[in-house]
């Protein structure tokens, strides 16, 4: 399946294909020499409890706005060429993709730094919330490392 890149910042229910996003970012410039990806996936254990399902919700428009601010600042401050940020919402099973950040620069160093900064900033500033379903019920996650 091939994905047409509609926007470099997306919040969507459907899954994404990591290699499609890498190919898409390569098309941004022939000067790209290093691409770093961060892929967050649904894990089974959280604080010692078994998770059966995750559910993400967001504040529409504000969340996209924050992701775009992160992308713009990453490009400017870390001098990378392009960045793609995708976060899924809705029900997500264990092992499924949740979030993808792709940072592309001329060299690897700035791409690594930009990618790490972007995921930390996403967690800090973007109005997205995770609800975990365990055997004892559902709980909204309030603090994430």
């Amino acid at each position: 399946m091939s994905t047409t890149l509609e926007s470099n910042v997306r919040i969507q229910r459907e899954d994404f294909v990591v290699t499609d996003e890498i190919e898409a970012i390569k098309r941004a410039s022939r000067n790209i020499g290093g691409i770093v990806t961060f892929l967050g996936t649904g894990r089974e254990l959280s604080k010692g409890e078994n998770i059966s399902q995750l559910n993400f919700e967001h504040y529409p428009k504000m969340a996209e706005k924050k992701l775009e601010e992160i992308r713009i600042k990453a490009i400017k401050d870390y001098e990378i060429i392009e960045m793609i940020i995708i976060h899924r919402i809705g029900e997500i099973d264990i092992g499924e993709n949740i979030v993808l950040i792709v940072a592309a620069g001329e060299h690897r160093k700035e791409a690594f730094k930009a990618c790490e900064w972007a995921i930390s900033e996403l967690k800090r500033t973007t109005p997205i919330w995770k609800r975990e379903t365990t055997s004892t019920g559902e709980v909204w996650v309030q603090d994430t490392p």
Binding site: E57, H87, D143
Partner: protein
């Protein structure tokens, strides 16, 4: 009217996605917080204890901010996006 939106755990507390308050042409967030506390005291307490992030028209603001008629206020619990 001021529209107040509740997300995630705060929606679970209020049982509503949003509600509207008539506060005149201009008010402060603190006054709106007092109004909210009448029906949902726990929410008011969380705002005062800074356990809630507040945005007006999608910009994060402080408790002394002025809110105008037609503004969209959102009460946002701590974020937990990512993985």
């Amino acid at each position: 009217m001021i529209i107040v939106k509740y997300f995630a755990s705060l929606r679970s507390i209020t049982g509503k996605e949003e509600e509207q308050f008539n506060m005149g042409t201009e008010t402060t967030l603190e006054k709106l917080c007092n109004e909210l506390s009448k029906t949902a005291p726990k929410i008011g307490e969380m705002i005062r204890e800074k356990k809630v992030i507040i945005s007006v028209n999608m910009d994060v603001i402080q408790l002394d901010a002025i809110i105008k008629d037609g503004d969209e206020v959102a009460l946002l619990p701590p974020f937990s996006g990512g993985c």
